[in-house]
Symmetry: D3
Subunit: 286 residues, 6 copies
């Protein structure tokens, strides 16, 4: 994923507006403009870093003369206590930018860290951890980037880049006399030929039906690992098998061992814990 | 807090763009435009509702003809399983809007629910639970609204509406030969006369110094409940006393009993768990 | 495809700005505000209509009191000379909106008409006509909508919703010692599991290699109908076959008869002729 | 015409958004970030170049480190096959930017090329080729710039910078008892003194009336070259004479020889053929 | 001039953002939502009203249920003390919108009032009062609308809709060996045929030269009324004559009597006094 | 106050759009691109400079190669006639940017100059001059910055950063049976603990009541200097005292001598006179 200057501007600009950085009454009242500082970003707990380029861009949009020097990179594992980057320049600018930079960095690192925990929990299996569209409004790209940094892979970006037939679609179509198999054929005929067709199922029977009708991906929703294994045995040769629903760090390994290809987890982006990161200052006169 | 049509447009528009709602390939391939549906928003776990007007606005921005009927209101406590609102109209529109509406509603209700847990934990004390600026980038107003719905109060909205002198400011000023008391006086002289001056302290001595120098609010950072009580006894007549740092559901009651006025908690907005809410459909032909 | 109020606002707003509709010096100098008019949109040549909702929205964004009554719908075939819609209300508003509405309607109908010509040219075959990403900057959604109205289908919306490995990618990878087959495997491993993998090839051999390596779609670029038929015979059981490059109304039927599934044509959107449509007025006093 | 950084940002940003350049799944899956490339823009057919600065800006907005070196300039005539510019730097960035850059460059060069054909067709006369407001929504400035590069001149930019009284205005005013001459006087009295007054006429008689009433410009709409000559002979001393309506490469020379000053042609911008231009790569390791 | 919903949104939205209307801490803390009020806009001094539709739109963007009833119209003369409009509905909404609505209405009425003073000062002459491009950044359209409401006319809207050759252009061209007359011919040849050519001169000689060379408008800059009359006598038959520079309410009548057609005054928009207008409330329970 | 690149972009971009700088028909028709110039900003009357960074940014957004060299700084006092900055580079760019740069600089310097007059008028007293929210729509930040440059201080930025209870709030609450003292207590309980509570009063009695009820700031509205002194004597030990309403350069000294802390003046920003500043050119060939 590519974070262009323009993309960064849009994400960061909204947050700078929200924080009214143009009128930081504390800094402008107290800190002399000549004061130079060097500050270090220091995590206070173990985790995986994500968002250093966003944090860097925040400082530079407040003041292009600030120098942001990375000590570590996105994806690096930290223990807590080590400096991950330093920012040098006018102390007033660093103070004004601090909260905005940390709000991005802590959330993104929290997502990467949570993803990493799931990835490690299924170590030794062939399954992949993937995200969902359950992202925080306005931050989808950054949320999904953080998942990838944590070792996960990305599911659909949006409603355009894949067909996903859910229980609600099937129920509606059933009312019209359209079966699961017919629904898949209808999607194949009408959706762009470039998108895959995924079907959400809640039983082994439905999984078989979906696979038989040519689904590219079959999502096993809230099924037991045992049922998942049964389904995998019968359909994995013909389609990608995805597990979803009710997945936790406690049960993810059992699910992965069922042989599914993909395990999608909404909590990666809807409920991560922010990684605790501080900005620690040294000051000196210019 | 007032959610104007314009504010809602900005928040919702970004998320609709992210989800590419204009080209929902699943719905357009499968669901006949004539199909009418009624769907209910149903929480799957206990909590406090927040964000119903935002959810309603999402549906109406996808299709102004959808009818959103509230059964409950923001601030209402749910047990899980009850319908909180129904949406009626073209099934295609409801399906396209579903994820966006839920992304808002689940986050906001998650924040309200977490806030409510803290508020109940300090029941019987005179302290108030408040938020911080540790919000998710781009959602500050909604995050803070959700805190208020959960029974909390709001701290500064941004860098403009209050002076908050932190350890980093004091360290920088100390290097210039400026004491804590002098810093407060400098802020009083230079900041707008309309803003309060808050000082973050880490010791009883510093708390006394801040109060003596005329701080409007003294923030006790990461102090023990015992030290907080000592500080409160000596300064509470002259200023508002705020506790901050390292506060959890386990220790918040002890902190509240120290007599502080305000307990500010970043986790309310930087690490809430989304409240699990589903959209359940009935369909019928028009 | 769904044209939400918000999407329409963005498309139309830019054009209203470009035309400085707030200060139409001709209309404001000449036409009395009380003057009421009814005007009809009348095509001057045969074609397929597309964009009536956009045209309607233009008039209503200039003046919400204008009444736009459709006589025909998007996708309808016109001969020229018949009224396709009438607009009633303040003549000043209709005059100011006219050029903007026509600029959208004429381009969109031009695309639909050109698409229809290709669709009719391959009548009786199993191939579909599809568009490309060669759209006019800023109008991709409308351009692709117009293609669908003309009877075509849509290829990728953007760089996110499908892997398309072109000659340049393969050349670069060849320099790294990566074969076509290895490239496809690499894409399978690293791209989201939700996207299809398409490969552009220029020979029968490469087509076979791509199919053997598991490409979901093989694009035959600038090949003769005979070579296409040879390729189709060998790979069509395993993948979707797409023809592209140098396709005209003269050769499209031959290409379609080769058995390809998909024929993609950039000219549909990069070089359509606007359909000639006029706005004809009757006026009367209020 | 001046293309400021800000103007370029707006035009280019919309197109980068449309193409979701932040998540180019092909490039990010396949191409190593260290791979350097040099690519050349090469037209595949004869024409006039326009839009090189826009294309350059596209590459630099994707990656400011890319180097865009022009070999030719806007307005230069190409035969096809020659390199017009090279782009050097990270291959990933060049691949991601390619389609967006070409979409601008091909359209703008197509407009310039078509304009040039009309300009050459009237070589030896004193007439000028000019554009209209029939531009593609959202691209007026670029469309009109391309016309000027092709040797044409620009008509009104928008509704503000000139009065143009058309048949519909006159019909409405006739219903109010206002003659053509009175309409011109009314416009003179009420419109800003800084704008010219142009009148569209369909007969020699109306042309004479418009000229007599002081029109600055008289537009002869859909008249024969013979009638145009008659009108020119009588009014050209007093006003600018413009021909419009039904003008093609076949009849434009005859029209120009009638002595009109200005020939305005909507097709220059509503129906140009994109100039076929390719991006050809060399790659190498960094 | 037309104030479309979209134009109003842009102007008003910026100001609502600036005033953080979403979090009016006073109103939300104090005023019960059920409280209904009726408030009247009442000028406190004589003047000309302008901006009532803008004020109305402010209230409705805060709360679409507010009812804004005009008692007077833009352009009406007030003495002070009379109600010009009433707003009815939720008191909370009226209070929140008040300052934004007044900021627009007071500035626009101030401009209209100042314009009216100049217009009355030249009563009985044939000259017109016009504005300039010396408007407040971001408000050009509203500023120029207010001038027209005050009885003035509008000069160029922007750099596109007219050629205005100033002393600096002429000095630069003189350095290139280009005379005033040649400059006018160059502009005629290169600028769009639709725009007029105006020349700023500082002497009678230059005025004659400009007129002789075919200038459409000659601007007499900072000349005495006597010199203006001399210039008018010699050139007014061939061009529009505009006076500019150093014009005040004291000398405008003398200037107008010199026979100039147009008197342009920057102070109308760069230095108007806001008209004092209050919002007076009655309240009642719902 | 901090003017970030982003803030400047937003302010300046609107004005560049308004002035259609992309198509400056005068400059593009007349001035050769090779022509280099140096121009000086020269005030034509005495005053205080404000806005040099904004003016500089305007030139650089038109053409990043222009060099803007400051001779003086914001806050410097000028007599008129001296160069305050020079701009060097392409003459075409300087000419196109001129009006936009001056529109900002003249307004901001006008505000600073007017503020300075008030500040000097109360020299020797302990009062401060402050602004209000009566700013020009869209320019609040720049208006308030200019006040601070002129020696004033800033009142509330917006409705969020302070409670200000006005007569209308009190009247509404009186109808509900809520007294002034109760209103203050209600605000204290419900508004964020971080904001101050200010009360507007029109009598000595009300001032005493407000102070007794704990108002942080008491605003004496339209009271005589004698009454203000009486109020100050009784309440100044407990709260900040602000004078407001009907304040002019004639009476401000008497008001300041009453002992009030703060004098707020709407006219600073709603009715300043633009400072007359010219751009004077030298040209030379490159």
């Amino acid at each position: 994923m590519l974070l262009t200057p323009r993309e960064l501007d849009a994400y960061i600009g909204r947050e700078l507006d929200e924080d009214s950085v143009s009128a930081d009454v504390t800094t402008s009242a107290l800190i002399p403009p000549h004061l130079q500082a060097r500050a270090s970003l220091v995590p206070q707990e173990p985790g995986i870093l994500a968002g250093l380029d966003v944090a860097s861009a925040v400082f530079q949009r407040i003041n292009p003369d600030l120098v942001f020097a990375k000590k570590l990179l996105d994806g690096d594992r930290v223990e807590g206590g080590e400096a991950i980057a330093t920012i040098s320049g006018a102390m007033t600018s660093i103070l004004t930018a601090e909260r905005t930079a940390l709000n991005f960095l802590q959330r993104m690192s929290g997502i990467a860290t949570l993803t990493d925990q799931y990835v490690k929990a299924i170590d030794g299996t062939t399954a992949s951890i993937v995200d969902t569209r359950k992202t925080v409004p306005g931050l989808r790209l950054l949320d999904k980037y953080a998942v990838s940094i944590g070792g996960g892979r990305n599911h659909r970006m949006n409603l355009t880049d894949g067909v996903l037939i859910k229980d609600n679609h099937l129920a509606a179509l059933a009312g019209e006399g359209v079966s699961l198999g017919q629904a898949i054929k209808r999607a194949r005929a009408r959706a762009p030929h470039t998108v895959k067709i995924e079907v959400e199922v809640e039983s082994i029977e439905a999984a078989l039906a979906a696979s038989a009708a040519g689904a590219d991906i079959v999502m096993l929703d809230n099924m037991s690992p045992e049922d998942m294994r049964t389904a995998v045995d019968q359909i994995a040769a013909n389609c990608i098998v995805e597990a979803s629903g009710g997945i936790t760090l406690d049960n993810v390994a059992a699910i992965a061992r069922s042989g599914v290809d993909i395990i999608s987890i909404g909590a990666l982006t809807h409920s991560p814990q922010a990684l605790d990161i501080s900005l620690e200052y040294e000051t000196r006169n210019a």
